[in-house]
Symmetry: C2
Subunit: 422 residues, 2 copies
Amino acid sequence: MPPHIPVQGKLLYAQSGGVTAVINATAAGVIETARAHGVQVYAARHGIVGALREELVDTSKESETAIAALRHTPGGAFGSCRYKLKSLQDDRSQYTRLIDVCQAHNIRWFLYNGGNDSADTALKLSQMGETLGYDLRCIGVPKTVDNDLVMTDCCPGFGSVAKYTALSTLEVGLDVASMAETSTRVFIMEVMGRNSGWIAAAAGLAGHGPDDAPHIILFPERTFNKDAFLAKVKATVERVGWCVVVSSEGIRNAAGQLLSDNGSRDAFGHAQLGGVAPMLAALIKKELGYKYHWALPDYLQRAARHTASRVDVEQAYAVGKAAVNYALDEMNAVMPVIVRDSDTPYRWKITPAPLKAIANHEKKVPEDFISADGFGITEAARRYLRPLIADEAPPPYSADGLPQYVQLRHVRVPAKLPAFTP
Amino acid sequence: MPPHIPVQGKLLYAQSGGVTAVINATAAGVIETARAHGVQVYAARHGIVGALREELVDTSKESETAIAALRHTPGGAFGSCRYKLKSLQDDRSQYTRLIDVCQAHNIRWFLYNGGNDSADTALKLSQMGETLGYDLRCIGVPKTVDNDLVMTDCCPGFGSVAKYTALSTLEVGLDVASMAETSTRVFIMEVMGRNSGWIAAAAGLAGHGPDDAPHIILFPERTFNKDAFLAKVKATVERVGWCVVVSSEGIRNAAGQLLSDNGSRDAFGHAQLGGVAPMLAALIKKELGYKYHWALPDYLQRAARHTASRVDVEQAYAVGKAAVNYALDEMNAVMPVIVRDSDTPYRWKITPAPLKAIANHEKKVPEDFISADGFGITEAARRYLRPLIADEAPPPYSADGLPQYVQLRHVRVPAKLPAFTP
């Protein structure tokens, strides 16, 4: 029988996986809600790695102002990690260590803020009560720019990268349209999305007709068809004068190979690092002869808090708040997810969903969101995506012209256990 | 003797070279000021190319609202071009054609909005009065994200790309700091600047000490020193845990070769297209073994009107306004330039400068703006750069969550002359 949970326990919060423009808004939701309940929050440095190392930050040492400022600060304020726990069968020592750390610091609730892998970690930890006799209440908190978690209508972090992508596509379209007569004809922007094309799909919101950018979207959900692609680039340039392509990083050819892994070598003999945009650019140059430019915003797209979606910020905060409430209500192995009640006006709420149904699943862009030719989005996709980028939530700016992002103090909780290297 | 200039002449405005987030604010300044004087503005489609082709837009057909909206719309609303006029000696036909077009439409003032090359074009046209007997008043109007025009304290377009670059560096630094413990250690952002490092220098505003991003800036004004660069990357990662590098696209090795031209070939046998960021990434991976990410925002940086500098928008408008006033005051062969009266508080004014002193000159980042080790900016650089990114000027947003950028009607002035192919 697991022991009774004492009311005076502490709550441990940790951030995991690739960070987003709004993961810290979730942290603010967690900490402010726990404070309102009189519960002390420790935060692990660098996700589960810091929990294993007993590197814990006492968030009660941070001012109310600093915690409130997390709502408008990108990146992961406590540090994140890419680290997958082995199963209990394969490595029991990690789990017994986590229990030691939790017991040493009277941690009774653990909130893990991440994507698919993190939901898996949270699920494993939620089962420790039964298997190892330590009753930790474990809540997964959703976060991923990839928007690929199942059970939730959307993922905190996605709305802001979607807004950045649509906005950048709109702006760059105006630029290319200006230059096309004597210079750049084709512009290619490579966006994140190894297995799912949600971010690329969001670029589609920039345009309202076949002549608007983006003219072509490439989804990992569709096999790359070179001939159809080149034909559409050519037809677009001949009709409109220019062409904007937005490609997911993860598109593959019919043999299942990533296009970005195109066999080329740099001066050091390494595989070319450029990803898919330079590869498509080279293809267009060779086959059609058009002058091109390409962009790869990489981390810029997911760190762009300055142009975050207000809905995204609010949802990120709300899942943090709900996660604390679920934990204090003694729920276990759940994740607060977003349920859409209506598209127009957009209405949503938060409900708990079982981690078991979420961990290690992946939501792709559905068939009916991709247009018949495979190069665009449908009206159904627009109905889904539009509310997620609506409204702005600009950060406060300093007199120097830059956002006032907060840097936490990171006051460390004194360690009580011997060192441990995960 | 050139003929007397009739009061009822028209003013021709054209955009040239790479466009910016604020070149249309200059167009708004030109058109609104000319309207206030009762002067009709024609705009050439695609710069001087449209003037040669007699492809002219009657801006009086655009509403006041549309012209006002140019102030917050990126790209070149009338189309730009990359096209260098030959000298009068080498190709007289272009000049006689331009005179034919001007005479056919009673154009007496020509405002050419661009960078170095465009100042050269404007200068050549300003001399037509003397050499070809047609008295056209010709004013260059400054515009370039490169900030490399002489005689002016700064160039409209630069402040906004500077703000975008500093902002992106700040945001991406927070992201990388979160990931460094288990993943990305080094981040490289490649920015525009083939011959001058002004944009890269602006990234320096993101940080306030040696541990803040950017840790390393690479300037075309400095020969790339591989050993010193790698040593600084290593020292930074060992001290801070991570390292952000911002590199101008145009850095060169001791032999004078562009680093981006690194001899590698893609799958089609073309020279690698990636530019300097992937090259530096490969170098770091090979020599130091750090995990990296890199970004190449390309046109995104100069099209980012959503995060424009307010000072930049105001200066862009002011040079357009001044150019019209100079033209109507019968000045010729001048450019309105920005003079800085004070750093703090920032005070500036517009004065005319001779095109002859501007055309074909290039202003590099001065010696005392670059730190002793060649990898950062000095306090003098900060004093210069800081006011240029101060204050925001966000565009209005629609309910869909995207800026309301304007699309002009482009009502064409009926052609009066036979076709001409430049």
